[in-house]
């Protein structure tokens, strides 16, 4: 029998090839270690992000141009790594941090997602930086509270996306005899039933497992209210309460009206079903707006108001469930001076006004130039700056849950999608909170 031996020989060859590649890449990795440690080296700045997609890459370039104008002596090195929501980038980043070769500044979702870096002592607190640059007044107070860990701030938020958004097809709602978007979770369930009975369309389009998590956070917020939702992520929170049971029961009910093929669809497919007239509702973050209205090949070229409309997800009007991309200062950044100069641009009004219209998000600062934001972004900016607006952090998008808590909730929801057992879901969420809620 020759085959197994061939197989083993190939394995050997593959091992040698991979080993060689590793050695080569190991050698190649050494040449970025030129600057002195710490200090105020401003000769260059290496900015690590996952902004490579349409819109976001343009926004980053606009900020880069602004940075180069303000810091003529500093070379800007764009170390962006492709891959949606940064999964690949984060794996690369983790290995760079482990090898103590951090970039000068890296992107991360503001909030608890940075906890791992904080606990490992890989990023510095930016309190002094905030004070020097008067940033504490520039950002909403609630936002700063929600991204602080033990009273300290570790990153500079650049933009704000909204998670609790309901997208709907006005035509299908009319056919179902609904006068407008539902205002509460209970109304939502009635509306879903009406769509199912009267139109035969998909009541609520849903994508792969993570979009169920996204839906869950909107349902929790809608049923519990902002304060109770925010309290869930604080130490000693009670996930076993009757209120949570009620919210999870509603979640289970809502799930009955979702698409059968959800698991093989990503968020784009699920959101597209609304503007294509196949589904009545979809709950997705406000990045869907850019996808709907953008021109081909990256957008669908649909019209706001006729092809689709939007509202806060049921029961969450008056609350902005936010998520944010932010930049950090790694400990031992090779060009600390350059990194601080970059953070200054990232936290500035000009920098954020250059970046956000292109990315399709709004500035985290309160003093943005309103004339730059049109369509949905105008609405979003008004909501963000509305007096009395309440802020809630999106757990799924990294504000309230550490990576492990996030993964444990994902598992609980994934198992629920199989067994549809609310009691099991709740006890899994209680366990996840017990194991991870230790801030």
């Amino acid at each position: 029998m020759h085959v197994p031996q061939v197989h083993i020989r190939w394995k050997t060859l593959a091992a040698v090839a991979v080993g060689g590649a590793l050695l080569i890449s190991g050698c190649g990795g050494g040449d970025d270690d030129d600057g002195g440690k710490g200090g105020g080296d401003t000769s260059q700045v290496e900015v690590f992000s996952w902004w490579t997609g349409p819109g976001e890459a343009d926004g980053l370039n606009a900020m880069k141009a602004d940075f180069e104008k303000k810091n003529p002596g500093t070379k800007f090195v764009n170390a962006a790594i492709a891959g949606g929501s940064g999964t690949q980038a984060q794996a690369v980043l983790a290995s760079r941090l482990q090898n103590r070769k951090p970039p000068d500044s890296f992107q991360g979702h503001a909030g608890a997602e940075l906890l791992d870096y904080i606990k490992q002592g890989q990023i510095e607190s930016l309190d002094a930086f905030y004070d020097e640059n008067n940033l504490r007044q520039a950002y909403p107070q609630q936002l700063l509270e929600q991204i602080s860990y033990q009273g300290k701030i570790y990153s500079v938020p650049v933009n704000i996306h909204r998670s609790n958004m309901l997208w709907y097809n006005p035509g299908i709602l009319k056919d179902a005899g609904l006068s407008g978007p539902p205002k509460s979770v209970a109304e939502f369930i009635t509306a879903l039933k009406a769509v199912k009975d009267k139109t035969g369309k998909v009541p609520l389009s849903l994508g792969a497992q993570w979009t169920a998590n996204h839906l869950l956070e909107s349902v929790l917020l809608g049923d519990l209210g902002t304060d109770a939702y925010n309290a869930l992520w604080k130490p000693g929170a009670d996930w076993g309460s009757a209120a949570v049971t009620k919210a999870l029961t509603d979640f289970a009910e809502i799930m009955k009206y979702t698409t059968a093929e959800a698991a093989s669809t990503d968020w784009q497919g699920a959101s597209k079903a609304v503007v294509d007239g196949k589904a009545a509702f979809n709950i997705m973050g406000d990045w869907a707006y850019g996808y709907f209205t953008g021109s081909a090949p990256n957008g669908l070229g649909k019209k706001d108001g006729t092809d689709f409309k939007y509202a806060a997800s049921p029961g969450t009007d008056g609350t902005y469930m936010w998520l944010s991309d932010s930049f950090t200062l790694p400990k031992g950044a090779p060009h600390r001076g350059g990194a601080l100069a970059w953070l200054k641009v990232a936290g500035s009004k000009e920098g954020q006004d250059l970046f956000n219209p292109k990315k399709g998000s709004i500035p985290a600062r309160k003093d943005a130039d309103k004339s730059l934001y049109k369509g949905y972004l105008e609405y979003a900016l008004n909501e963000w700056n509305k007096p009395g607006i309440k802020l809630a952090g999106s757990f799924w998008h990294g504000v309230y849950s550490s990576k492990r808590w996030h993964a444990d909730i994902d598992t609980a929801v994934g198992l629920f999608l199989q067994n549809k057992d609310v009691a099991k879901l709740q006890s899994a969420l209680v366990t996840a909170a017990k194991n991870n809620n230790t801030q």
Partner: protein, 321 residues
């Protein structure tokens, strides 16, 4: 070690210069296996480091208490191997892997054997068919996974795409189903792309096996009055046992480690969670190296249970020959 030098030393010195003598002396002292060893040493070092070194390190992490990036390694006496069964997603992952393996291995073996059997009966343009059946193996699981993800879409008739749409168009709507999104038997559907991909390879193995059975044997059986069925049952098939065994091993270890196919079709969703995906999730998403290494060790043991008896058997068989 070295071959005895037959030329007397004096004569040699007169023939060759002093410099040459030095080189010769080196050659005499250098054992014959040395050049071979030197040639192999890069791969020995690489395998030692990157295969066995990493297996050692993985096992070390698996028996450590390093459940996050900051705590020290320590030693927890294999507690992880027990505790893993309390991780909510793990029992399902094992169940999925077993179901996938059973369907994939049996499916690929049966289909591969059947294809080889047809070829063996002598068809026209055999080389062409052989190439067609082998082609899928040249495609990576990641690439074919993207296509199969679309083919096995469980949408109901009004939105159907892929295979379900095909069934509808052919009037076979009743065959439309949930594919891998069926909560109980989904992993059986997940095995379809793998069967498609690997059955050509199994066919090639069997075809070689069939060709290895001398025509004389069959003739002899026929002369003795055996029917064609009996020729296969009692003459050809017994000679194919080694082929079946090695195909079983090759498919089995691919199947237990399956990762790319699942990631391409379903990603990290619980519905098709398998141990290799769990390793990734534990290490990169949950930041738990000890759990990830424990799962990797379980995988290694599972593959070892399959491969080691086979290696022992084949070494013994070779010695007997």
């Amino acid at each position: 070690m070295t071959s005895p030098d037959v030329t007397p030393p004096v004569a040699r010195e007169s023939i060759e210069g002093r410099g040459r003598r030095g080189r010769r002396a080196w050659r005499r002292r250098a054992p014959r296996w040395l050049p071979g060893l030197l040639l192999l040493s890069p791969s020995i070092v690489a395998i030692g480091l990157f295969v066995y070194g990493l297996i050692f390190w993985n096992t070390r992490v698996a028996v450590s208490g390093k459940h996050d990036m900051v705590s020290p390694y320590g030693f927890d006496k294999g507690k992880n191997f027990v505790d893993l069964w309390d991780v909510p997603s793990w029992p399902g992952a094992v169940r999925h892997a077993l179901l996938f393996t059973a369907v994939f291995v049996i499916g690929a073996l049966v289909l591969g054997f059947f294809l080889a059997f047809l070829m063996e009966k002598g068809i026209k343009a055999e080389a062409g068919f052989r190439a067609i059946y082998l082609f899928p193996m040249a495609v990576s699981f990641i690439a074919s996974g993207v296509v199969w993800r679309w083919l096995m879409n469980p949408a109901p008739p009004e939105r159907a795409v892929g295979l379900n749409q095909l069934f509808n168009k052919l009037g076979l709507g009743a065959l439309g189903n949930d594919w891998w999104q069926n909560p109980r038997l989904g992993m059986a559907a997940m095995a379809l792309p793998a069967i498609w991909q690997m059955s050509g390879y199994v066919m090639a193995l069997y075809l070689a096996g069939f060709r290895g059975v001398p025509e004389d044997l069959r003739e002899a059986a026929r002369v003795d009055g055996a029917s064609e069925w009996k020729v296969y049952r009692y003459v050809v098939l017994p000679q194919l046992r080694p082929v079946t065994l090695s195909a079983l091993i090759i498919l089995g270890h691919i199947s237990l480690k399956v990762f790319d196919l699942i990631m391409a079709i379903a990603g990290k969703q619980i519905i098709t969670y398998v141990p290799a995906v769990a390793t990734y999730v534990e290490v990169f998403d949950r930041g738990d190296p000890a759990n990830g290494a424990t799962i990797a060790t379980y995988l290694l043991v599972a593959v070892g249970l399959l491969v080691i008896p086979y290696l022992v058997w084949s070494v013994r068989a070779e010695r007997e020959r």
